[in-house]
Every structure is written in C-alpha cells, then in structure tokens.
C-alpha cells in the first residue's frame, strides 16, 4: 500500500493518479486500514455532465502538488481527532462522470470525520497546485479561480 503514517501513527494516504481509479476499491482499502474507527466519511467528486463539457484535464507540478496534499492532510489531522485520512486525486484527461477526487476521513466520532472531509475538499479547491481546463465545442479553456471557492475556505477561519 502506498500509504504513510502521520507522526502519531495515524493513516495518511495521499496520492495523485494519472489513470482512472475505482472509488469503491479505494474506500474499501482505506476502511480496512482503520479497523478501530467508529466512522468513515467520504466525498467523491466527479466530472459534471453539463455545460457541453466533453473533457476535463487537470495538470500538476510534481515537486509541489503532492507535498501540498500531505501538508493539507497534516493540518486536518491536527485540527480534528482522526484515525486516518485519504486523498486520491486524478490528474490527466477525464470524461463526464469520471471520478476526479476521493476524500475520506476516519474518526471515532462522525462530526470530526464530516468536518475534516469538508475542510480538505474546500482547500483542495484553490490551495493545492492543480490547474484545470475543460474542452467544449469551442475548444479548450483554462478554468479560473472562483470567488465561491475563496468563500468556502474562509468559513474555516
């Protein structure tokens, strides 16, 4: 398993995938790694099938993107009581309906797991080094940061 342990031995699994992944398989493996947890919350982000978007591409910068994921996971692990945290993020080209990102948090109590998952998702949108473009009938277009993404992060203080 390509995972690592947080300094206090909690499970941290953060990965970039350049090919499609199976969310059920990933979640099953993660769950198997946190047998003592009282609950696992997960979020799966997918390519929306609207606005005439035929393809989505996400690019990264290897020296910084995954280290940024790990730093984000550490921040979440300091803030909430977690037994484990999973971040699986696609890079490369995807089609409508394809999984983009899977975040899961395991905890003794559901509120910490819900909050950590929400926190990680808000910070994946705009505070990690990923660039996204989409292809429509008009061609490829780079996606600019949205004000809503900033507001979502501001909720966390």
């Amino acid at each position: 398993m390509p995972d690592a342990r947080l300094p206090d031995a909690r499970l941290l699994d953060a990965r970039l995938m350049d090919a499609p992944f199976d969310p059920a398989l990933e979640l099953g493996r993660f769950n198997a790694g946190v047998p003592e947890s009282g609950g696992v919350v997960s979020f799966l982000g997918k390519v929306r099938a609207d606005h005439g978007v035929a393809a989505l591409e996400i690019r990264h910068y290897a020296p910084m993107t995954l280290p940024g994921f790990r730093a984000l996971a550490q921040t979440a692990a300091r803030r909430w009581q977690l037994d484990g945290l999973l971040i699986v993020h696609r890079i490369g080209e995807m089609g409508p309906g394809d999984p983009i990102v899977l975040v899961a948090a395991a905890s003794g109590h559901r509120r910490d797991a819900f909050a950590a998952t929400d926190f990680v998702m808000d910070h994946l949108k705009g505070e990690v080094w990923l660039w996204k473009r989409e292809r429509t009938a008009a061609g490829w277009r780079w996606i600019e940061p949205r004000a809503q993404d900033h507001q979502d992060r501001a909720r966390w203080g």
């Binding site: 996400i58 690019r59 910084m64 998702m121 705009g126 080094w129 990923l130 600019e144």
Partner: protein
C-alpha cells in the same frame, strides 16, 4: 550551462512548451532571453514562482544556477 523554466497551466499554452532551457544567470537576464509577450505574462502579479520546488515570497535577486528549475505558477483552479 543551462537552467530550466517550467510553465504551468495556461502559461504552458502561452509559451508553447511545458519547459524551456535557458542560460543560467540573474532572473533579469533570463527574462531577456524570452519573447516579450511571454515575459510580460510571467511577470503578472498573480503568477507565483517556485525555485527548485520552493515557493518564492518574491522574485527579486534570484540568480539561476546551472541545473536549477524555476517554475511559473498561475492561479490554481483545481479540485
């Protein structure tokens, strides 16, 4: 000896290549080797710079050594 520039996101499209070898030296001398339109885009205030994988607080005084990598990071839109 050369250093490497890396262009992320829309900057790759603008540069026409994902990365480019340049003569090492002070950043001003590196920019002087680039097409003017590209240099202007790279100097926009919302473009962050990373020197050998480390984000720079500001670009003043940077000198690229042979083998260095300087990445230009436009605003992210990920997730």
């Amino acid at each position: 000896m050369s250093a490497r520039l890396v262009f992320l996101g829309r900057l790759e499209d603008l540069a026409g290549v994902p990365e480019m070898a340049v003569a090492a030296g002070p950043l001003e001398a590196v920019f002087a080797q680039l097409p003017r339109e590209l240099a202007v885009a790279l100097l926009e205030p919302n473009v962050r710079l990373a020197h050998n994988g480390h984000l720079l607080a500001e670009s003043g005084g940077i000198v690229l050594e042979a083998g260095d990598e300087l990445a230009f990071l436009p605003p992210v839109s990920g997730g």
